[in-house]
Symmetry: C2
Subunit: 148 residues, 2 copies
DNA sequence: CTGCATGCAAATAGTTTGCATGACG
DNA sequence: CGTCATGCAAACTATTTGCATGCAG
């Protein structure tokens, strides 16, 4: 089990094991994904990487994120109109809550959730592979700011 | 209450009341949305409309669907890569289950769901406006077909 | 008649791809 | 050193927009 390893080390090891090259840009992107809590988008990741490697292209960010997505190390969060955001800390399906004003995304605890998948599989005969549970609302901070 | 009115009548009345024009194309699109169970996409709606009004443009379909969306009469279902699909029968948030092979979308019954929103609002202090619960899996039909 | 709706084409935005160059292993 | 990754630009796709024309009210 790798549970005691940092996400960063885990992701880097996985790339190494599978024979992918560890370029500085790639490592930087992995670091950002492994350490960000705010569910960054490609644009934001790109902004961060270029602070260290100024010539890094958007295409490289897309390619790296896409690679990690395929390896199951990063989960894509695609909210309606919003541009995609990514979660590298917890790449498995879990609920999100997004503030429609400030666009912040956080991960609430919802224990009662797993039961739903079972209920559903039994009811429909589907083989459930994954799911997505997203809430949209206004965060406490933004509620305060709109009370003029 | 309009619960005894057909969705079609309800949507047409709403357009009339709010002063939107009832062009034949618009009515045809509303009809398709009100009567389709398969959660059609814009392309599919367009294919249907053009059977009756062959010159109807994609832009008109987009505009009409968008209008109904803003009026709260149609719900957009945006699944990751897949192109958007629409639900005109039940425009309020409800769970979906999509087959990753045949791309069919159906509406399962999940009673235990409403409790989650409450739990969440209390836990996080968010004002919850909406949510999205989508499952991805393989439908019974496609499971059969892959057992060679 | 008057203005909103239509339909065409062009614009947009996020993302992907092709290809020549560069650097990891 | 060979191969894969990078970076640039061009391609793509779903959707939106501008504008002249048409038709509902």
């Amino acid at each position: 089990m790798n549970t005691c390893m940092s996400r960063l080390d885990h992701m880097v090891d996985m790339l190494k094991e599978k024979g992918f090259r560890l370029t500085p840009q790639r490592i930087a992107i992995v670091e950002i994904l492994a350490n960000s809590c705010e569910h960054p988008g490609v644009e934001q990741i790109h902004r961060e990487v270029t602070k260290r490697f100024s010539t890094t292209s958007l295409a490289t960010v897309y390619k790296t994120v896409s690679l990690l997505k395929e390896l199951g190390e990063v989960m894509e969060i695609g909210f309606g109109d919003e541009t995609n955001r990514y979660d590298g800390k917890n790449p498995h399906p879990h609920p999100h809550i997004m503030c429609v004003k400030c666009k912040s995304i956080t991960d609430p605890d919802l224990s009662a959730l797993n039961a739903l998948s079972w209920e559903l599989a039994e009811e429909t005969g589907y083989k459930i592979l994954s799911h997505r549970l997203d809430f949209f609302g206004i965060c406490p901070e933004c509620q305060k700011n709109s009370e003029q």
